[in-house]
Amino acid sequence: MHRTGDLYGHFQTLEQQKETATLGMWIFLVTEVLFFGGLFLTYTINRSAFSTAFGIGSNTLDITLGAGNTVVLIMSSLTMAMAVWSAQVGKKKLVSIFLIATLGLGTVFLGVKAVEYKQKFDHHLIPGHGFDMKYHPAHPMARDDLKELALEKKEVDEAFAVDPDINFHGQLYFSLYFGMTGLHALHMIVGVGLLIWLITGSFAGRFTPQYNTPVEIVGLYWHFVDIVWIYLFPLLYLIDRHR
């Protein structure tokens, strides 16, 4: 496949090439919607079947970290949009700056996510043989709010009295929590890789008002990954939050 400047040989014009790449990314995102869709459906059905266990699960999540991360991600969408705009109007320096800002915010998000996963690990809330919803209320950690924990203990005990299988259903919640946020985080990691690729291109001055398709389609991808989180945050953290 030969290539003249930015134009690949099987296209007639740069416009055609850009239209093709953009449409390709949109269709890829359609497949992503369906890919995540299977998980969202599984979540919805189990949420309605086991609302008590899912409610308790929601309450164990750290809403401050979750909300903070949401803000971080929305900010990163803004900087990404600014990077695309800068490329379109030919402000080469700004492209690099905004791409690096996006990369930074994305990395912060992933770091916070790692902290949250670590907490769940400490609290024995990783699905598997060690999973126990009673563990954390009975084993407070250094910085835990004891009053809060007493409430959680009461709630878990009540739930166990009604439904002895609550640990299974709680595991379902956390399987889905790790499945959905994990898949999302995987997409973030791919996005970070793409950003690094863009930043090297940007340092080389590749993006001009005539040719900036890579920035634009990575932008589409990045916004999509953000939107997934915009749905995940209320579904996992907010529904049934009662403390």
Binding site: M1, G9, H10, Q12, Q16, E19, T20, L23, G24, I27, F28, V30, T31, E32, L34, F35, F36, G37, G38, L39, L41, T42, I45, N46, A49, F50, P127, G128, H129, D165, F168, H169, Q171, L172, S175, L176, G179
Partner: protein, 559 residues
Amino acid sequence: MSNTPLTPDLELPDEHYLNATYGSGIRSWLLTTDHKRIALLYLASVTVFFFIGGVLATMIRIHLLTPGGALVTPETYNKLFTMHGVAMIFFFLIPSIPAVFGNFLIPLMIGAKDLAFPKINLLSWYIYLIGGGFVLYSFSTGGLDTGWTFYTPLSSVYSNSAVTPAVIGIFINGFSSILTGLNFIVTIHTMRAPGMTWFRLPLFAWAHYATSLVMILGTPVVAITLLLAGLERMFHLGFFNPALGGDPILFQHLFWFYSHPAVYIMILPAMGVVSEIIPTFARKPIFGYSFIAGSSIAIAVIGFLVWAHHMFVTGESTYAALTFSFLSYLVAIPSAVKVFNWTSTLYKGSISWDPPMVYALGFIGLFVIGGLTGLFLACLGLDIHIHDTYFVVAHFHYIMVGGAVMGYVGGLHFWWPKITGRLYPKSLSQFAAIILFVGFNLTFFPQFILGYLGMPRRYHTYPPEFQVLNVLSTAGASILALGYLLPMSYLIWSMRYGKVAGPNPWPATGLEWKTDSPPLTENFHVTPEVTWEPYDFQNRPDLGLAAGARPLAPAHGDD
């Protein structure tokens, strides 16, 4: 044939995609981004899986020669039909026509130099290989006994066979299908030559557009579903395991949400092939072009709304069952539209019995039987009687083998001169088509009767009164095998010794016939401009047909 004017012997073009000099030897194939070479890579690899699936099918049929089972243990029998299904569906039928002919032809048919994303096209082949590798690993280290449907919790908890690598393999392979579909849709949208409007597209391209819609919308769902089932097996999670609070019916819904439309991934491209062959050998514009095009899209859309007819007896509400039954009947309408339009095209046509035409006519006959028996199965009351019997097995083999594979082999005969630049022996290939048709019917028609009499599918044994029909079926299978081995041998023979075909041997009206056979790497010497309507033989002096004259010099001359 002495009444045809003598034509000078044709010669292959000096330079074409097969001998093009970029890189050397094997590298120029493994790193190619030429859609035509990638199509041939796919052709080779789907043939390997067809062989594996075929050998397994042969073992099944030999085993069923006697009521007690003639060949293998019950456990092995479970593995035979499972691996037959997995190899044939995921690694032969789904990629067959799209990845081989779609890849080869769509850019040629729309006048483009390549698909929109040539590197992604190559990537999809490698993904197919990696997925196939995992599945072969599963086959050879314990096999697979869950049925191709992977129903949970059998697949996720109880099966002792190598489910995990198989699930990983099919998950990976799904992305090959997604990327192929994505490539086709974008290509058809943005890469058409000047003058190639939507309603001048060949019906093959319309069929592939519809197929690609199913690929991009359905495949991600089965991917995530199998991923969840795999995670459930690996980490003892409970999404679909009732013992842990999960819902096995949910798995079935998600699985069939893809796997029913997947049937249309197999049959729609075959319908596209037939829509190309019929007008060519009836020498007539296709009847109802826009209806055939629209019916492809309709089948793809309605096909997404019928999945739960696989679950009439596994637990869903009566109203849901009624709705899905009604919607399943609805699919018959666009399917019938196609059959009627093909038949109307034949009416008063100037029909020649070239080998592709024999396959296409065989397709219509078998598809009609397969389609009509589908209506039996969509009927709620009747389905309870024939559910999970050989009636179902016969029905879907009529669609998938009688339909999809017949279309595939027909397409192979139709475009072989374009792919290789050479023709194959005519009488032998007509004979092979008839063998295929007879063998197929003998194999699968008895299974309709067996199913109606109550023989359940997937059993390694059966009562003695069913033996006659089973022996007939096995006998048919051996004829069928000949029907596949014959084309395989003479097509390979023709690559070296076949008569040179020339650019348009039939002649056909599509853009792909306006370039060399085999074509250049860039497909056309100059970007073509389309000024004619599709399947129009009258206003095409370039086809070498005198107006109204018939019959034409047969492509094969005297043989």
